[in-house]
Symmetry: C2
DNA sequence: CCAAACTTGATGTACGTAAATCAAAAAATC
DNA sequence: GATTTTTTGATTTACGTACATCAAGTTTGG
């Protein structure tokens, strides 16, 4: 059997109360006594039974998820996954609240975060908007000992404890290689459809994409980025216009709004053999992959991101370790053959 | 607060002891009383606190992993992941034992399984050897209420509760599409290196591969399968020989023993532009992907498989639900840009 | 050396469930 | 209606930890 508090008390020659004081870092223990207890803990390999401790404490984990109020499939999916997690709350002792903030609005995000510092949740997961003032509040909250993880979009250079999302530079690079390899010896131009170059993940995807294109596929030229604002209508118009250019052989869609892209492709390019790589698996992109309108989809598993964020926040709140490999968010590549 | 046993006792107008009898399916409760209690449970939305229950029971989960004693990187990796899980045992209340059986030996597997039926573990995870007699014992054990999951290699048509592994037909199909698309307009022959056609997962990969090749890439012909017995030396010899054929433009390696494949490629095909798709990410295949000897790697995450198997066995033992999406084992596709 | 401050022990209750025991009540059997 | 059997209640202990209280012990400082 694994050792209990009683065993350490006996081993250290102190009372249960003293062991408790050491374990929970309560005052009133002399330095030498504390060391005796800590030695016993190490020697016996004592590990606190978190389940029993939580039971005794009646602990719950109040968590807050901060999401941009964006009306696209991916954010809807992310929201749905968090609501799934809410359903599991009783079993997981979590108490999850979702706060929506206007998208691309650092000030709004900052004020929400400042409100939270009063409310004392035991963890915050946020889709970060990349701005200095956001970084500043996040750093302050981390210093005040709030566990914070960024979700989907990171806040590089901040003190956030963890990023639950994909490596977007790698995603862009992968898209470039897929597109380049699929096109083989063909030469021509590549159209890139993004949401907005103000969003860090989109910038990073483009950066990775452009890098590999330049290094390895010099016969393919990237056209100026089309900013579709993650809006299907805008995307449709931009892509339909762009397809007037007969030199386009491939498209990389690195943001949302793929519904518009797909419609434009079906209207204007049914007769052309375009190679298309898009991000985010939704009902629309899935159908387009199956009917060969899209050739490959890169995806991040929103469910995994949410579950991972929760696990990490709980672990941080308890000062426990996590299984690193389990928390790595993969870049999923879907061809029509390996769809889930 | 969520309701406790006390609340249902009060609501049903019975004593705590009776609630306990109902919850734990102990005898000595009249039918009508049992129904009263069950109604109260539903009405109040009572959920048993598994942590408290496990604490009270002093429950541990004795689990058994049965693996083939194969000396290849993948099985070593799988073994290592299980040992990692053993290290987490205290926190997870598991008690994991690994049993190795001779590979490809249904009789050995059967006798181990029969031995287990006496020992009463609360769950069994096994890399299945696909044979009728194995299916028979598995079905018998499942009927005797042992939770069983197959790992890596499935036992189709048996009553096993779950399969923690990838869809190998989809894997083969994906490999074919990658190879076909990467080769583009090139015509020629494709060499396939397998471990053994006696193993179900290898047969399935080939089946999926051949299907897509036939449907979509008629200019590429599949050569007779090279059976490398998952052994680097054998694989090396077979591939080196095969490369005498100048018509080969691509290789699909669907088993283990890739070290031999890679060496053969470097010796005999450094000057040729072969397209190569291989399975399983190891130190060797990773290096080969980076230096362009291999173009894509398909992988199954052994760590995920092990953790998933454990979660599922525990859930089955407690009669609880699992998060289906979390337990789906992805087919990972790695290009040199999205390596972990 | 005495008082104040600090340190430690002893003890009890709680968390939500499991499981056992024994007594009492109800139902079924004759 | 008495007897046996079944059902139910009441109560207790336990799991491993948290946390509070109070008494007793040990150090300090003056």
């Amino acid at each position: 059997m694994r050792p209990t508090v009683h065993d350490i008390a006996a081993a250290a020659g102190v009372s249960l109360a003293t062991v408790d004081r050491v374990l929970n870092q309560r005052p009133g223990v002399r330095h030498v006594t504390r060391e005796k207890v800590e030695t016993a803990i190490r020697d016996l390999g004592y590990i606190r039974d978190v389940a029993a401790a939580n039971l005794a404490k009646g602990r719950t984990y109040p968590l807050v998820f901060i999401l941009p109020a964006s009306d696209n499939s991916f954010m809807h999916g992310l929201n749905a996954e968090i609501r799934q997690a809410v359903l599991r709350s009783p079993a997981e002792r979590t108490d999850i609240r979702i706060i929506e903030v206007p998208a691309f609005d650092p000030a709004a995000l900052v004020s929400v975060l400042e409100g939270l510092s009063r409310e004392k949740p035991c963890g915050i997961a946020m889709v970060a908007t990349d701005a200095p003032e956001v970084r500043a509040v996040v750093d302050r909250l981390v210093r005040e000992r709030f566990p914070i993880v960024t979700l989907v979009s990171d806040l590089t250079g901040s003190l956030r404890h963890h990023y639950a999302g994909v490596d977007n530079i790698a995603a862009g690079r992968t898209a470039a290689r897929l597109l380049g390899r699929f096109l083989g010896p063909r030469k021509g131009e590549i159209a890139v459809l993004a949401g907005s170059m103000l969003v860090r993940d989109h910038r990073e995807r483009l950066e990775g994409f452009a890098a590999v294109m330049a290094e390895e596929f010099p016969d393919l030229a990237i056209l100026p980025v089309l900013e579709g604002r993650d809006d299907p209508e805008v995307a449709h118009r931009l892509v339909a216009d762009a397809l007037g250019n007969a030199g386009i052989v491939g498209i990389y869609s690195l943001g949302a709004g793929n519904r518009g892209l797909i419609r434009a492709l079906k209207e204007k390019a049914a007769d052309r053999t375009l190679t298309v790589v898009a991000h985010e698996l939704t009902a629309h992109t899935r159908a387009a992959l199956i009917d060969n309108t899209i050739d490959a989809i890169l995806n991040q598993d929103a469910g995994h991101e949410v579950r991972s964020a929760i696990r990490i926040l709980k672990a941080k709140a308890d000062g426990l370790a996590v299984i690193a490999a389990q928390e790595r968010i993969r870049l999923d590549i879907f061809l029509k053959d390996n769809l889930p």
